[in-house]
Each structure stands twice: as C-alpha cells, then as structure tokens.
Symmetry: C2
Subunit: 360 residues, 2 copies
Amino acid sequence: AAVPKDVDYAQYFCTYAFLYHQKEMLSDRVRMDAYFNAIFENKRHFAGKTVLDVGTGSGILAIWSAQAGARKVYAVEATKMSEHARALVKANNLQDVVEVIEGSMEEVTLPEKVDVIVSEWMGYFLLRESMFDSVIHARDRWLKQTGVMYPSHARMWMAPIKTGIGDHKLGDYESTMDDWHNFVDETKTYYGVDMTVLSVRELEEQSEKYINTSLWNNLHPNQVVGTAAIIKEIDCLTATQTDIEKVRSNFSLSITHENTKLCGFGGWFDVHFRGRSEDPTEQEIELTTAPSVDYGTHWGQQVFLLHPPMHLSEGDDLRVSFLMSRSKENHRLMEVELGCEIHQQSGKLLAPFKNKYYIE
Amino acid sequence: AAVPKDVDYAQYFCTYAFLYHQKEMLSDRVRMDAYFNAIFENKRHFAGKTVLDVGTGSGILAIWSAQAGARKVYAVEATKMSEHARALVKANNLQDVVEVIEGSMEEVTLPEKVDVIVSEWMGYFLLRESMFDSVIHARDRWLKQTGVMYPSHARMWMAPIKTGIGDHKLGDYESTMDDWHNFVDETKTYYGVDMTVLSVRELEEQSEKYINTSLWNNLHPNQVVGTAAIIKEIDCLTATQTDIEKVRSNFSLSITHENTKLCGFGGWFDVHFRGRSEDPTEQEIELTTAPSVDYGTHWGQQVFLLHPPMHLSEGDDLRVSFLMSRSKENHRLMEVELGCEIHQQSGKLLAPFKNKYYIE
Ligand SMILES: Nc1ncnc2c1ncn2[C@@H]1O[C@H](CSCC[C@H](N)C(=O)O)[C@@H](O)[C@H]1O
Ligand SMILES: Nc1ncnc2c1ncn2[C@@H]1O[C@H](CSCC[C@H](N)C(=O)O)[C@@H](O)[C@H]1O
C-alpha cells in the first residue's frame, strides 16, 4: 500500500525542514567524523566523479564530496531545507559543482547516472524511518554498473543489558494506573458515569507506552552483561526492498557477567565504508553506535525492557528469535517480536518468553 | 482549499484516539461541572428530545444527555474512540438511547433532525483546532428551526499581563543562539564548511519558537495588570464560517496597576449555556477559562510575550488592533497580528509596535 505523499510529509519529513533538527545531526561528532574521513581519506572515489547525495538536508555530504574533487554532485532533498542547502553551497562557492534538487528521490530525474551514492539514511536501530527504501530506489535507477555506495555495509546488533530505567518506567506505569482508578471512582461519584469498562483499554494504552515501547538510551559499556550478536547484515550495493522490510533472525547471546540481572536488550547498528569489492576504499571507515563511554551518538541505543528482570550468571545462554516488521499505521515505525529461551549453565531451562515492542 | 482527510487525521484527530487525552479533558473539573450543570439543571431541553453530540470522544456528553431524559442521542466521533464510547454507553445501559456513529461530522447522515446540539469544541484561545467549523456544519444540516445549541454563546478575551516567563524564554533563545554560533565555528574548524549563511534562518527559526509562539500558562489573577476586553462574541446559533475564519478586533485596555510592567498579553475564552432566546435555560451556566486561583482549566490562557517589557502605570491606555487568522500550513493552527499604541496618562504617546505570533 503506497503512502499518500502529504501524510508522509506530515508524519515524517516535516521535522527535517527545521534547521535545529539538521543541527542535531551536524553536531554528532562521531557521525560527522565517519563521513568526513570516509570521503576525504578516499578521495580517489570522488575526484572527477559524479555523485548523488540522497537526502542532502543541509547539504553537508554533497559539499564534502565536491571538496573532495567531484566533477558533479546531485543533492536531492524532499523538504524546504533544500533552499538552505543551496545557500550553503553558494556561500562555500561550490554552486558550479553541487546541484541541489528539491523533490523526493523517488520522483526526481537526474541528467545522468552517477559513480557514487552517498547518503546518511540511518534511523534509530538502523531501519527506523525506512529511508533506506529511497536509497535502494536511487541506486537501482541512478547508480552506474560500476558505482560505489557510501556507506557500503550496515549491521544491526543486539546484546543483553542491565539498566535501572525499567524500574522507573514500571513506576510511571503503576502511578498512571492508580491515577486512572481514582479517576474512575471520582467520575462515578461526581458525574454519575461508570468508566470501569474502559480500564482494560487504558491498561493496554499505558502498558504499550511504558512497557512495550523501546526506549532511547545511551548505555554504558558495562551495562552490557553478555555477548553481542549481529541480527542482520546489509550489503548496500545489493540489498533489496524485501531484504529489509522484515528482519527475521535467530541468534544466541551468552551472559558474561557473574551474578547479574538481565533487564532487557540493547539494540544498535554500525555501518562501514568499504567501497566496492573490485574497487575498495584505501581506508575502511566504521561508524558505530554501540555503547561507548566517549563516543555516544545521537542515535544512542534502543532498549527493549524485560519485566521483571531475571537473575542470571556467567555462561547462561539466551536463544533469541527476533522479528522486526513495519507498523501498519506508519511504515516508518517498527514493531518487534522478541522471543527468548534461556539455557542456564546449570542445565536448567527457564520458562521461555515472547514480548512485543514498538519502536516509535 | 480543502484539507485531505488523512493529513488532517495525522495532524489533528490522531491524538483524540488515545484515552489519556480524553481523560485529560474528563479530569478538568471546571469543564465537567459546567457541562454537567448545563445539562442537568436544564433537563427540560433534553427530556424526550433528540440530541446530537458533535465529537463525542468518550461519549460523556451523550451519556449525560440520555441520563437527562433524551429520547435519542446521536453521538458522532471521527476516531476509533467511538468504540470506547459505544462500550461506555453499553456499560451504563443506555444503548437504546445513545447511538454512537463513527465518522466525521461532515460526512455522516442522521435519520432525523435534532432538537439540541451539544458539543465541546473549544480549543486553546477558543478557536484553535477550528473544530467549531464542524459544529456550524452540523447545525446548518441537522438542527431543527427551533433547536438549541449547548453552549449557546462564546467569547474571546484579552488583557495586559506581567510574567516572568518572557525572561526565561529570552534566555533560552539567547543560549540557543550562542550554541549555534559555537557550532558554526566548530564546523568551520573541524569540517571545513562555513555555515554562517544559515545563521539568519536559525535566528528566524529560534525566535519563531521562543519569542513569537504564544505560550500555554495558568496565570494568577494578580498577573493581570489592567482591564480585560472582549475580542469577539459568537452566537453559536447564527455564527457563520466567515465570522470565525478571521477574527479582527480593535479594543482598548487600561492599566490598573501602579508602576507595573507590561510583559505581554493573556488571551482566554468563556462560553455560556443560555438556550435559545425564545426558549432560554432556567439556569444560565458559564464556563470560563479566565485567570483564577482556584479554578484553572486544561485550557489555561495563551500568553503573547512582549520583548522587552514596558514600564507602565495606572491609567495608561493601550489601543490594540488584533487580527487572528488560520495558518496556511495547517488550518487548525492560528496566526495573530497584534498592534498596539500606548497613550500614557501623562499625555505621552509611546512608539507603537506590531508583533506577529503563532498559536501552535
Ligand atoms: N525519499 C527522499 N527524498 C528526498 N529526501 C529525503 C528522502 N527521504 C529522506 N530525505 C531527507 O534526507 C535527510 C536525512 S537526514 C541527513 C541529512 C544530511 N545528508 C546529513 O548527513 O546531515 C532529511 O533531510 C530528509 O528530509
Ligand atoms: N468533524 C468531526 N467529526 C467527528 N468528530 C470530531 C470532529 N472534530 C472533532 N471531533 C472529535 O471531537 C472530540 C473533541 S474533544 C471532546 C470530547 C467529548 N465530547 C468531551 O466533552 O469529553 C474529539 O474526540 C475529536 O476526535
């Protein structure tokens, strides 16, 4: 089902039309360093070449591509931010190289095919926002046979974690429900209407909000209590729409901390700039959003909480079945089903569980 | 220009589909008492009558109408909240009287005309959300010649105020701009791109956000430093779409405090339940959202800030020209132009000013 363009604008693009939102991304030093180094340490891929920047925003990646020697850069942006990108290109005297095109990638026409596609398309937990769809579309339509993708690869990761936010959220949830029950009592007393029948729905709504929606967090590495597993690997040159619409994966995680609490799971991603196998980058650059003391990103990690937390210990083994699909109401948001069996070191098998989460 | 239905849903209706939002309104005791008393102290208007509730939400006003003796109540609601309204009606054993209809008021068909239209359509500063459009539409199509509107009248008010939030907002604005200038320096140093050209746009964006967007506030009555004036009166039985699309008004405000600061203007509304002139209510009920110590509402007041504040004193006279129109991007949001001339008691005429505000 195609999404009407104006609804997509109201729900998604509109925020990107604000400079403060672009600035948030432009202030993420880990992100900026990765793209900067990827481009300038691999000038060979850009010098004299044609480049397409999918979703140029402020124009930064297009400008860097031009500064690295590109012959021509097409910078496509769906929102009015394109006007600022154009001004920025001009102020940096690159108007002869960078052509800013306002429009959605799916609809614009370029005068030629390109040697390189550069794009910063990653959302929370990699695929939120579903913007990679537009990169695939651009690649299939506009990248030369010999073309290179920047970044070239992407991976999703997951690891068992301990955290205190679960308790907070549970507390919030409980006080909201207390509040609701008082409200029901008062409405009956003062206004003669019994709202008890809606309690089920309120419970659903609030547990969806507090318990079943994944949370943005910048985890400290020592909150990761076990091994991390790769959920999904994407080769940006060959991945298809079907490859990314649903992410299904079975993997194992081993607890590496002694006597610890499993409070949930942390999810993150990394991308790599490796060029093309026949034409690799001189320097392989990595952009990771893994838990880190010094190098947090605006993406942070997504936390999927477990209630109640479980006491586990070193050597305990988690067999996870993971399924991420798009929300029916909004294809740019995700739903996750996470099933887990725990085989303890002792040989004991704990009761398996299966939870549903929303990535909002 | 008609608004596509699904965009309107994404921007407006969607929030009403959540119980927590309905609960916020249902927990507003001032609001609830006013409608409750209006209905139950004027049962004559309801007993044996047909009623239409425009935008029934949880169904509360429809249920009260039925409890007050209505023969039939049509309860129209655009969102899935209609399902909860239906459950609530059933749980209160009123399913034979109240018929919940899911659909937008503009599109549904009723089997008959009605004696009463009851609706809680008021947004911030009365007209935000533009929901009264739907009430007008319902009235012109479904109210009998002799029908009654609940509420029957509405007014918009404005008064000069003093407040500390202006300083806070100015502080926020200034630190955001400092931040921006640092960001521009760093981007030039580390990434070789000069973003100075965007500073104008950033300034615009941030001043729009911190300076020119009106603020929700619950003012204390002693923050009102002068007389309040009525900006607009609406007779709900006769008002037309054109009457409310633009609100234009010139009025005077007198400062009543000695040696005070004018920090801006507070805007609020009230509505009355008077029935119909040939068929008035026995008890006239008022719902006011004016500044009050004990009876704050979820609507609060809208504050329009003035920078810098002006020193004024008792007897100084403000001649205000006020124009409120709908935002071009979203017809449910408003833009206000507020011009002011100040004639001081001393005979001195201060430099007039004219500000633009957004009600978001
Ligand atoms: N299909 C599409 N067509 C055009 N622009 C798109 C798009 N999907 C997303 N975008 C734009 O892509 C941008 C992603 S954010 C990245 C901005 C910039 N490249 C940077 O790295 O700082 C947003 O500005 C968004 O509006
Ligand atoms: N044109 C329209 N058609 C149907 N419902 C509408 C509407 N415009 C607004 N609404 C609904 O009107 C409600 C307004 S809020 C008031 C809810 C309820 N009557 C109460 O007093 O508590 C919302 O639930 C909104 O979804």
